[in-house]
């Protein structure tokens, strides 16, 4: 029931994103084909292109064709390269997905233990110096944008020290800098959230009772605290994971990562609306999928959102 409800909302939002990507082309002031082909293109060429794209037909009909084609992964062809947009995305998307997934996993793996350890060390006002160091470092990291870290790392590790490849995607070493640049901000913010939520849980009655039972620290933290702290963190911090997607565009651009980000930037700069439309749909779908997965994870972690057990 719970899964079904979430899944229904997920599908509904997906449809909305596809609708939005359709509406985008029609919201552009002026004539998108004219804008794409440039002011010097002959009138006939523009008219011909409009007809090819079906833009001369009434919009309900256009919407129907768009939806039918979108359902089969056909987003028309790129205005510029004339390649099918679906194919361009199919070529580029796996690299983006790899980058984003590795980063998300790393962010969670670092932030959760770090946040909990800092909470254990600083709760009840002890460890003031650790607290100050932690909040300063994470505070700084969380506001420095990805591209600055990326540029700084390229200059240091790539150009001066020559430890790591500066661009492209070629083996594990090429993941190091893009992933670190992309992960730093979200990891810092997540770690702060985990610490705050763990601190809140540490002062709760059930922790006091667990202490009264003299449970070993490992059991107290892993079995009693972790599920509750993680639930609270994901509820407020799940969106951090989708914000990675935006950062990935910049990181891909700076590291010339062969992913969807660079293609999207080119499409927007070159007024390649078909490709941009497809990119909107794909990025939107990925954001929604992440939100959906976080929801499902929350449901699994928190018995309160699950249906009542029988008996």
């Amino acid at each position: 029931m719970f899964l079904l409800r979430r899944a229904f909302r997920f599908v509904l939002s997906l449809v909305l994103v596809v609708l939005a990507s359709f509406a985008m082309l029609h919201l552009i002031p002026g004539d998108p084909v004219r804008a794409a082909l440039g002011p010097t293109a002959p009138r006939e060429a523009v008219e011909q292109r409009r007809a090819e794209l079906g833009l001369d037909r009434p919009w309900p009909e256009q919407l129907r064709t768009y939806l039918e084609k979108a359902a089969t992964g056909d987003f028309g062809e790129s205005f510029l390269s004339r390649q099918p947009a679906g194919q361009v995305i199919g070529d580029r998307f796996p690299a983006t997905l790899q980058l984003v997934v590795v980063t998300m996993v790393l962010a969670l793996l670092v932030a959760v233990p770090l946040g909990m350890a800092m909470a254990a060390r600083t709760h009840g006002g002890r460890g003031r110096r650790s607290e100050l160091a932690f909040t300063s470092v994470t505070g700084g990291l969380s506001v420095i944008p990805e591209f600055l870290l990326a540029v700084a790392m390229i200059a240091l590790f790539g150009v001066v020290l020559r430890w790591l490849p500066v661009a492209g995607k070629d083996g594990a070493a090429s993941f190091v800098m893009p992933v670190l640049a992309l992960a730093a901000g979200p990891t810092a913010l997540l770690a702060r959230l985990v610490r705050m939520e763990t601190l809140r849980e540490l002062s709760s009655d059930y922790v006091r009772l667990a202490r009264a039972k003299r449970l070993p620290a490992v059991r107290l933290y892993l079995v009693h605290l972790l599920p509750n702290a993680l639930t609270a963190t994901l509820t407020t911090g799940g969106l951090l994971l989708t914000s990675l997607l935006g950062g990935s565009v910049v990181v891909e651009y700076v590291f010339q990562w062969p992913g969807l980000g660079g293609t999207t930037v080119e499409a927007i700069a070159g007024k390649d609306y078909a490709l941009a439309q497809a990119a909107v749909a794909v990025y939107g779908a990925v954001s929604l999928t992440v939100v959906f997965l976080v929801d499902v994870a929350l449901g699994l972690l928190d018995p309160r959102s699950r249906p009542r057990m029988l008996g």
Binding site: P29, G140, V143, Y206, K213, A269, A276
Partner: protein, 598 residues
């Protein structure tokens, strides 16, 4: 302005000031040099003439960076204006609209927040056309959902407060409430957030320009300079240093300043904490313990920094005995319970002696503490872990301390749940706390204490959070456990009636000290004026309801302001001159200079 002293706020403020100074003087001082072509020195790296090198037109990159400050800050300001002008009204809208429209707007905001800001900005910029205008509109628009949601959250908090409810009752319309009450109260956090947004707008614009989607030549901002110099980073890394540092300084400056001030203003004024520990010297040296007492406290003192909420408390509990501690909230009774359990929260420290079964508390092994000492706390809703099945929270006592197997521990858990009269205990063990009522949870907590072989059950206000009918049954259960297992009990309550009904002996606490200790049956003949007043102010069925209930004038002193003499003297009708200067030491269970007649 105390909160300005946090290091991140100070760092932010200095970075912001630096940025603003350069935004004003930058174009004046370096504007000309920034656009001076020099075809002989194009694309150079660091040299004495050009510290950070030159661009493809031979223009000095340091001068261009400094001169670009005004443009970068100005565009960020415009974008933030757009965000604020749209976001705040949109977020405030739900509190003015009817419930249905409000829900729709709120849902719209929530779904937009899920979409990454930078991507929103890119696509908004696509619609508005690549270039400075498109970028400003894009960045401005993309931050709207976030600001709108914050506004709504803040407005909701204010809108549900009592004074707004009062204004509504007096007939104020929704719009009037919004303008008169809601907006003024959320202005401060909003302004700080907008400051932080200015930083994010600056970073966002730099990002768009870096991607080639923002400012177009011949105009230039920091992002555009980065866009142009980035391909050269592999040869002359110093050429990107100027714009990169400038973006870092300005962007993080505004963001740090806004965020840290917003956090500081959101934090409720907190109690002073983390003062250096002061461990009081132990009272009167090790005393011979009463050999048969389950619990013996001698001169127990609890202090938090310089404050001492429990002062030299001594009592003992014999096996099988039920002892009650009563007192107003703040009298130190709960901290006494926590100190007995060795569970004082940091930075609290206990001095004096707590002996469990004749041994000092700190020498009792964890395993024995976990099985022989049971604790029950006030709020059963919070005392069970919401994420774990009730059965596993009981079973872990057996697996941790008794070496039981999982299966054996669960069987024991079901058995104990049955002993506290939960119907169908096997099924109950598999359920989660949220499926239990308050009374059931408190039973489960008591059952948890029975997992071992408890010799002492410390119950701190175990029924205060429960309905009256449930209270009675939980208390009867505690008394029954005491009878059947022979475990002694320490029952802490503010309710004299509860304590006197079940406990043989009562300790009365006031301002951190035990002022009188007496058998429950003697309560009506209590000799301490405070105990008398407590008895008089607690109603029972025999109380004549036509007369006003007795109250005690004045209030109990806070732990930090306990006077030298008897702490009750200022409220006591029988106080003598001596009571205000000399503290009465407890003798024969009574600490009073001028007791009532027996």
């Amino acid at each position: 302005m105390r909160r300005m002293r946090t290091p991140s706020a100070l760092a932010g403020l200095s970075l912001v000031l630096l940025t603003l100074v350069f935004a004003v003087i930058g174009p004046w001082l370096w504007g000309e040099e920034a656009v001076r072509f020099d075809p002989l020195h194009t694309l150079e790296g660091h040299s004495s003439a050009h510290l950070l090198g030159t661009d493809d037109g031979g223009r000095d990159l340091l001068a261009r960076t400094l001169a670009a400050t005004r443009q970068s800050v100005w565009l960020a300001l415009l974008a933030t204006l757009i965000t604020t002008a749209v976001g705040v009204p949109l977020g405030a809208l739900p509190s003015v609209l009817g419930p249905r429209a409000a829900r729709f707007t709120a849902g719209l905001i929530d779904s937009l927040v899920a979409f990454p800001v930078l991507l929103l900005a890119m696509f908004a910029a696509l619609l508005a056309g690549a270039g400075a205008r498109g970028a400003v509109v894009g960045i401005g628009a993309a931050a709207v959902p976030g600001l709108a949601r914050l506004t709504r959250t803040l407005a909701d908090t204010v809108a549900t407060s009592d004074y707004v409810a009062a204004a509504r009752v007096l007939g104020a319309g929704r719009a009037a409430v919004l303008v008169r009450h809601v907006l003024p109260n959320i202005a401060e956090p909003l302004i700080l957030t907008v400051t932080a947004n200015l930083g994010y707008a600056l970073l966002g614009l730099a990002t768009l320009s870096l991607l080639g989607l923002g400012v177009q030549p011949p105009d230039y901002d920091w992002g555009r300079l980065l866009h142009d110099t980035l391909p050269r980073v592999y040869v002359d890394p110093e050429v990107v240093a100027g714009p990169a540092l400038a973006v870092a300084i300005a962007g993080t400056g505004f963001a740090l300043l806004g965020e840290s001030l917003a956090r500081a203003s959101a934090r409720a004024p907190s109690a002073p904490r983390g003062e250096p520990r002061t461990v009081l010297p132990p009272g009167c040296g090790p005393l011979p313990a009463a050999p048969d007492a389950v619990l013996e406290a001698r001169d127990l003192t609890v202090s938090f920094g310089g404050v001492t909420p429990v002062r030299g408390v001594s009592f003992s509990v014999a096996p099988g005995e039920l002892v009650g501690i009563v007192g107003e909230s703040g009298s130190g009774k709960s901290l006494t319970a926590l100190a007995v359990g060795g569970l004082l929260p940091h930075p609290g420290t206990a001095s004096g002696h707590v002996l469990l079964g004749g041994r000092p508390l700190e020498e009792v092994p964890r395993r024995e503490l976990g099985t022989r000492l049971a604790m029950v706390f006030q709020d059963p809703m919070a005392a069970l872990n919401p994420a774990l099945r009730v059965g596993s929270q009981l079973a872990e006592v057996a697996t941790t301390h008794l070496g039981a197997s999982r299966r054996e521990a669960w069987r024991r858990a079901a058995d104990r749940l049955g002993r506290v009269r939960l119907p169908d205990p096997e099924a109950q063990a598999r359920r989660y706390p949220h499926e239990f009522s308050g009374g059931m949870r408190q039973r489960a907590v008591i059952a948890m204490g029975l997992m071992g072989e408890p010799e002492l059950i410390v119950a701190d206000e175990p029924t205060t959070a429960l309905d009256v009918t449930v209270q009675k049954r939980v208390l009867e259960l505690l008394a029954e456990v005491n009878e059947t297992t022979g475990a002694a009990g320490l029952l802490i309550s503010h309710d004299l009636a509860v304590v006197s009904r079940h406990c043989g002996r009562v300790l009365v606490m006031y301002a951190g000290r035990i002022v009188e200790e007496l058998p429950s049956s003697e309560l009506r003949r209590a000799r301490h004026p405070y105990t008398r007043a407590l008895v008089a102010s607690s109603p029972d069925l025999k109380t004549d309801r036509s007369l006003p209930l007795a109250t005690i004038p004045g209030r109990q002193p806070a732990p930090a302001e306990v006077p030298d003499g008897c702490a009750f003297a200022p409220r006591c009708a029988r106080a003598l001159e001596r009571c205000r200067t000399d503290r009465p030491e407890p003798t024969a269970g009574l600490a009073c200079w001028n007791p009532e007649d027996a």
